[in-house]
Symmetry: C2
Subunit: 295 residues, 2 copies
């Protein structure tokens, strides 16, 4: 294969990724699954995450070497960028930092910008006219507020422009065995989000649960109409692990999304999560990850 | 002084403490300030925190030696217990743990039980008929929700039985120099709390602020009608320090309360905070502290 053929192949792969990567939090039917392996290896008829993740790295590496010289690297990047919720949830975040976050998200075409509810009106204004979604958090990061407050918070943030809502489930109720409370809490917030045209991700805070509790939480979230399950708030003892992603994916199946979040700081972290079944990645180090992908 | 005289003196001090320690979050006029130094050294006509804190330790130590033998130590303990908000805010706290918390609070006569909003109805039921107050948190622990949500959360928790509300101020807005937002946010929540007969404590999250920002936050909180300023959520990088307590007390004066919270794990910690000007202590290790006081 000569240089021209290789460049054409890389361009085709870029087009394929652009065409197939979902822009919203939704999830394509089944064979069109969001696994990064599928994105770069469309010929596969079965899930082969580990192999394909390796292939991804090889293709990106090969493409980067050849393509960066001709400044066409951005043909590859969107496949990764479209997985990322570009996130700033630290309480001390300032207006200037939020504006910068939005500018970066537009530049790299991240899936969304994820901020605390107070900043939603600003983010909605900053992202106006762009395909980047507005994402926020509810009952965050402890999950121990009454459903009525989580619903009010969801309605308010959706009115203010939020298109994706990441709620924390009632961890204490789950650990107390009060499954009805947990399910009804999620259902009430899911209904409020969906009424406003937003999708709902349910944060488990895996660091505080054992494997059985993680499986129960995924079951209840799916039953209650969640669009995604998500590992972590980023404020607990630890964040996402590939093992937890695999467990969560195995429980919820291909029908709803799985978001890995908390401690994802490198391209290798992202690829490991995607290989394990994650269809969305929450990260604050998103720009660094994109720079790694381009390196 | 013989043993009988000493026992009478200890009993008188106990009565004095019981009579003068505030049972609610309120704050006595002025000379009746809440400083623990004043409580044990009522003859003092001026604030002499360091000296009196030393005296406190001496008196307690002397009293403990003499009084524990005759099982009257509890005459001393309430002065310390009445300073403490007995706190469980970890998201994984279960129903059983909350019930135990309430039982301990009744037993030791702590000022309040402080829990996440979801648990307020349970705590209100468990503490019914006791003088121990129901305390909860709002916009917790990030403070980055819109005022409308903080107000809704306050109204709901007060309806559910909360008598004290600890809110987190809008840290990002403060650090962005948006003082009007910070003041109006506190004022809206203070009004909602007061309408329901509750008092409001404003959490600064001192770990995220420099000294000037701490002083500004105290000024805004006092202007906006807060009943207390409070150092920390217990979820950030660090908690209360005696220096911060002294700074906060110097800014708000004697008219409103100062609550130390975050990392207070021993009687020595509590005494150091009280000596620096704290009139309330938030702690999860409250029972251990009382055991130390009784040892």
């Amino acid at each position: 294969m000569d240089a021209t053929q290789l460049e054409r192949l890389v361009a085709q792969i870029g087009d394929e990724i652009l065409a197939r990567v979902p822009r919203a939090g939704g999830h394509p039917p089944t064979a069109e699954g969001l696994n990064i392996a599928d994105l770069v290896c469309p010929g596969c008829t079965q899930r082969c995450a580990q192999t394909c993740a390796r292939k991804t790295r090889d293709i990106i590496a090969a493409g980067a070497d050849r393509v960066s010289a001709s400044h066409k690297l951005t043909r590859i990047d969107p496949g990764i960028a479209a997985l990322i919720d570009h996130t700033l949830l630290k309480p001390e975040g300032t207006r200037d930092e939020i504006v910068k976050l939005c500018r970066e998200a537009r530049e790299f075409s991240f899936a969304s910008v994820c901020v605390n509810p107070y900043w939603v009106p600003l983010v909605a204004a900053e992202l106006k006219g762009s395909p980047v979604k507005v994402c926020t958090v509810v009952g965050f990061p402890l999950g121990a507020t009454p459903s009525s407050i989580k619903v009010a918070e969801t309605e308010e943030t959706v009115r203010n422009g939020a298109q994706e809502v990441d709620m924390v489930l009632n961890i204490g109720a789950l650990r107390s065995g009060d499954f009805e409370t947990v399910k009804n809490d999620i259902r009430a917030v899911a209904e409020a989000a969906h009424r406003g045209g937003a999708i709902l991700k349910v944060i488990l805070e895996t660091a505080l649960l054992d494997d059985n509790q993680k499986a129960m939480a995924c079951t209840l979230a799916k039953l209650a109409g969640a669009d995604f399950v998500k590992t972590s708030t980023g404020f607990s003892k630890s964040g996402a692990t590939a093992q937890d992603i695999a467990l969560m994916r195995s429980v919820v199946g291909p029908e709803i999304g799985v978001k890995a979040s908390g401690g994802i700081r490198s391209l290798a972290d992202l690829q490991s999560m995607a290989a394990a079944g994650a269809s969305r990645i929450g990260a604050s180090a998103s720009v660094k990850i994109m720079q790694e992908a381009a390196a």
